[in-house]
């Protein structure tokens, strides 16, 4: 059995058992919840990591995502896919974390994105093997959040605008800004 078959089998297994695991977790079954964690924590960590651009924070927030999930899982009514619902829980948790942790001096003095770019360059995680991920990490915060939510997570600009408390037009322009910065930095890399 090659790797793709293993992945397919795993996905089928997840699809078959997911609703049962969710139902058990909703009844307080921690073993079922642990299985859901095993299935989803790498995906949630990737989301946290891309949005936060900081591995340590991503690990902490990923834990918070699953604690929130445990507390809120009884709210899941099966109206959407569990994975979609979980992604929205995770996205809200990350955004809540960012709001809480936002540098208060930055708020007071309204230090703009340029500073964030400079700061984030120093924080590049050299353990990343994916060139695009490395460049995403270097984007200014708002451009990075919009890009990850739109291009990677598949949210619509209307949804992103609500989540990030910005105008739809701003979400679109941040996305285009992110794309331009990425095309440029990836171009430089491969020149």
């Amino acid at each position: 059995m090659d790797k793709s078959q293993v992945i397919d089998a795993k996905e089928r297994f997840i699809a078959d058992h997911e609703s049962e695991l969710v139902a058990r977790a909703q009844q307080g079954d921690q073993q079922a919840f642990h299985q859901l964690y095993e299935i989803y924590h790498r995906r949630m960590f990737a989301l946290c990591w891309r949005m936060l651009a900081d591995k340590d924070s991503a690990e902490d927030v990923c834990q918070e995502v699953f604690v929130q999930l445990w507390q809120k899982i009884h709210n899941f009514r099966g109206e959407s896919k569990f994975a979609t619902w979980l992604h929205s829980v995770a996205t809200n948790t990350v955004l809540g974390h960012l709001r809480k942790q936002k540098n208060w001096l930055q708020r007071i003095f309204s230090i703009e994105d340029q500073t964030v770019v400079e700061a984030s360059v120093e924080l590049v995680d050299d353990s990343l093997s994916n060139a695009l991920d490395m460049k995403i990490q270097q984007l200014p915060e708002r451009a990075r959040l919009v890009f990850v939510l739109f291009a990677v997570e598949g949210y619509r600009h209307e949804e992103i605008a609500k989540m990030l408390n910005m105008a739809v037009g701003s979400s679109k322009s941040q996305y285009h800004r992110a794309k331009s910065l990425l095309r440029e930095s990836l171009g430089e890399q491969f020149a």
Partner: protein, 171 residues
Amino acid sequence: MNKLISEQSLDEQVANLPKEMSPKRDLWQGIEKAIAVSPQLSSEKKQLQKKAPIVPMAWAASVVAAVLLTWFSFSPQLSIAPSNINLASVMKKDFEQQKQLMLTSFGQPELQQLSKEMQQQLEELSSARSAIDKALENDPDNSELLNLLRWTQKQELELIKQLYSPQWQTI
């Protein structure tokens, strides 16, 4: 002129981004510990209670920064007769003792183990405190500055307490 990759190439790279990444540490242990003490049904209320101190912290920090900014920008040079007791140095000494006591009670944690944001917050509170200390050197009896110093010290202690109190985030 900088070379750009094509939009198509970027789209392909986005589509090929890994969907999963593995955290370096085992996150489950902390989660397990947290969910053991947070029942599902009554959890939201608890969570709100747990998180409530963060908001006043942000407000407090913001107000300190705003007052400091206003103070250094617009304050007139006050001339108040110096007292014999330097209250600021007593407060500083008392604060250092309290901070040490608190850090000892948390097992002398390494600040480097905190996330960069947390380290930054602590550093900013600390530098705000240093700025007030410096202002007090020129105007040691200024009650507004003394109040500000006391408040900043309190926020720093509360932040340290919050950072090291959550048991489930640190394994």
